[in-house]
């Protein structure tokens, strides 16, 4: 293997923590979604490295799964965010619940 597993795992870990920071520390639902995407991709990188290290194809198969799931999840998540935005004009995760109830269907 050209790149040692440790380096890949390190990259994966760093990416994951970057994604986690993005999710937890941003005041924007879309940025939270981005963060989740980054976390998912970090896990995929880790899987690819593990698959190359132990020469098993399953790892790469899982990456395809992750990509599919991530795509689905992003589409539904964005749709949900759109609904919330339409109703409350805000993508702040800390929004007041009353905003949603008052909003009605717009």
């Amino acid at each position: 293997m050209i790149v040692p597993l440790n380096h890949i795992l390190l990259l994966s870990g760093l990416l994951f923590s970057l994604g986690m920071f993005c999710t937890l520390a941003r005041r924007n639902l879309i940025m939270m979604l981005l963060g989740i995407e980054i976390m998912l991709n970090a896990a995929a990188v880790g899987f690819v490295g593990a698959s190359l290290h132990w020469q098993q194809m399953e790892g790469q198969a899982i990456v395809i799964f992750i990509l599919a799931v991530a795509a689905t999840e992003v589409s539904i998540g964005l749709a949900a965010i759109l609904v919330v935005y339409r109703r409350t004009d805000s993508v702040d995760p800390d929004m007041d619940a009353a905003l949603w109830e008052k909003g009605g269907s717009r």
Partner: protein
């Protein structure tokens, strides 16, 4: 004496006499209520046949040596058998005859009195119900059966007192009567149940057999049950302290007052005592209590009658007083004296009430002053019969009341309770006084200027149909005159099966009748002085003492006391407490449980909702902690 089974004839006759009124009740209430004459005919027919049956039975069994009993099983539960049956012995046959006679006469009288009343059919239906219940009560063979029909008699009384139910006071009086007698009946039922548990049976021959009872019950238990059963008697016979329902019961039509509340139903209490005389005499405490309560009731009621303005109320108080007198006689140890006075009293008291009814029917008012002013004295039959009745009540010879009163006074003298005898003498004096007060007020009216008249009953109609009323009056008057002379045959009749009766004949005090008559004469003179003379102001010596007038007029404030107790203890006290408990404590706890569940849900909801990133951070921290734990902790 060993009881025997009655002949089939007697059985059929008795059964017919009992069931015909029941049938009449059913038919009238279900089918013929709107057809007045038919209803009356059915009811009077049944009553008449019962009367014939009573006479037949009396004649047939005049020489009976032993009581006749017939029992069938009404119901079985486990080891307990509840019987239904009839017991024919001299006391029950005499009472049966009395009830049947007066029932029949009053129903005939009602043809005239109640004519034109829209509830005519219902009236006769209830009368038949009463007749059935009372007749069966008199010939019941077990104490439980007596209790059952005792309650049914109370029901009939309730229905008849509140007959004119449009009037609030009438329904109120009916309810009061029922609840007060029910209070006494609670004690009765408790005593009855205790007896049943100890003896295993409630058959009357067993109860009155000293050997059987004494073997299984301790003296304390006998006294307890006797006192409890006596509680029922106090309620039903309107003795102290449960006496205030009877004057209020005068809201009912006068024939009802005559039948139920003078002659028969209230007499059921005294009859029960006579029935169970053997049982009661086993407990000296109970006899003493009986004597005491009888004395108190007699005096109390007499005082109340002295100031009453309503003619029916006077006779109501008089009934209470006379029932107390009977209980005094029984309590002093003489079965025959009490029973004989019961029989004679039924006759003359019913007579007095029916005469009052004639007055009310014609003058449209119950107030005796008004009746006098409206020319009551022109109603010759009523006046003469009232005088006869009052004479019997006062114990004037040769009327029936004289004989029975003398017997009781004699026994009281012999019984060793001088206080009781003196009280009885005072009571007799007062009785004569208030009876003749009434007569003189009616005979010699004064002009208006008095207080407004006592309220009369509406729902009652025009004059008319007098023939039926006056005939009955003369019948009863005749009975009153003649019955006294039957004392010895009756005594022998009752003594045939009950040796206790025979033994208790008092020594003959020849001065007693004379003294009693003198006392009565003095009372009449006083009444004449205060009410009858030309110049009399018609204000009694009692009425001139305001304190006494108020006390007697307000029934010794008993009513106020009961009202107060009822309102404070029951309504405002216990009832309100329990309701508040229900609403605030029990329901409050439940609703609180419901609310706290919702509250808990809200708390959990708070944990879930809100800023999602905080929750995510906690999740991440937890996962990291887990990894560290697994990784380094092992």
């Amino acid at each position: 004496m060993q009881p025997a089974t009655p002949l089939p004839n007697s059985l059929i006759v008795t059964a017919a006499a009992l069931l015909l009124p029941l049938l009449a009740f059913g038919v009238i209430m279900l089918a013929t209520r709107s057809r007045h004459r038919l209803s009356a005919a059915i009811s009077i027919g049944a009553a008449g046949l019962s009367l014939l049956a009573a006479v037949y039975l009396l004649v047939q069994h005049w020489q009976m040596q032993a009581p006749l009993i017939f029992q069938a099983v009404w119901m079985v539960s486990g080891q307990m058998t509840i019987p239904i049956g009839i017991m024919l012995d001299p006391i029950s046959l005499s009472m049966f005859a009395v009830v049947a006679t007066i029932s029949f006469l009053v129903q005939v009288y009602s043809l005239g009195y109640m004519a034109g009343d829209p509830g005519f059919g219902r009236y006769y239906g209830c009368m038949s119900l009463f007749a059935w219940a009372m007749l069966t009560l008199t010939v019941s063979s077990s104490l439980l059966q007596i209790y059952i029909f005792w309650e049914l008699v109370g029901l009939a009384s309730y229905l008849l007192i509140g007959f004119w139910f449009d009037k609030f006071s009438a329904s109120e009086a009916g309810k009061k009567a029922f609840v007060m007698t029910r209070t006494g009946d609670v004690a009765f039922l408790l005593g009855l149940v205790l007896l049943w548990l100890q003896l295993g049976t409630l058959d009357i021959p067993v109860l009155t057999d000293p050997a059987a009872v004494g073997a299984q019950l301790s003296p304390g238990m006998i006294t307890l049950t006797a006192l409890l059963i006596f509680g029922g008697i106090v309620g039903k016979s309107a003795q102290f302290p449960l006496l205030t329902w009877l004057p209020d019961a005068m809201e009912g039509p006068t024939p009802v007052s005559a039948l139920l509340h003078s002659a028969t139903m209230v007499a059921a209490g005294v009859y029960l005592f006579s029935r169970l005389f053997g049982f009661f005499s086993l407990s000296p405490t109970a006899m003493a209590v009986c004597l005491a309560i009888g004395t108190i009731s007699m005096l109390l009621a007499s005082t109340m009658a002295m100031v009453a303005r309503d003619i029916k109320q006077v006779w109501a108080y008089s009934t209470i007083s006379q029932l107390g007198f009977m209980l005094m006689g029984l309590g002093a140890g003489s079965l025959f004296a009490g029973a004989f006075h019961l029989i004679t009293h039924a006759g003359f008291k019913a007579l007095l009430f029916l005469c009052a009814g004639v007055f009310i029917h014609h003058c449209g008012t119950n107030d005796m002053f008004e009746i006098g002013r409206q020319g009551g004295r022109r109603l010759k039959s009523a006046v003469v019969c009232t005088i006869i009745g009052a004479g019997a009540l006062s114990g004037l010879p040769p009327l029936s009341g004289f004989f029975s009163k003398e017997m009781i006074l004699g026994h009281l003298l012999d019984s060793g309770h001088p206080v009781a005898f003196l009280a009885a003498a005072v009571g007799a004096f007062l009785t004569t006084y208030y009876s003749f007060r009434l007569i003189f007020i009616i005979l010699f009216p004064r002009d208006a200027g008095d207080a407004p008249p006592a309220e009369s009953h509406d729902g009652h109609h025009h004059a008319g149909g007098e023939y039926s009323m006056t005939t009955v009056l003369w019948c009863l008057a005749g009975v009153t005159v003649v019955l006294g002379f039957f004392q010895t045959p009756l005594h022998d009749f009752l003594a045939r099966t009950d040796t206790g009766v025979q033994a208790a004949t008092p020594a003959h005090h020849s001065w007693l009748p004379v003294a009693a008559c003198l006392l009565a004469a003095v009372a009449i003179l006083q009444a004449w002085f205060e009410y009858g003379r030309k110049k009399a102001r018609q204000i009694g010596w009692v009425e001139q003492i305001p304190f006494l007038a108020d006390l007697f007029g307000n029934r010794w404030y008993l009513d106020r006391l009961y009202r107060y107790l009822l309102d404070t203890l029951v309504y405002r006290g216990v009832s309100r407490l329990f309701t508040a408990n229900d609403r605030r404590v029990i329901d409050g706890a439940l609703d609180g449980l419901g609310r706290s569940t919702i509250g808990l849900g809200r708390v959990i909801d708070w944990v879930h909702g809100g800023m999602i990133q905080y929750r995510l951070m906690i999740m991440v921290a937890a996962v990291i902690g887990l990894i560290l734990f697994i990784g380094w902790g092992g």
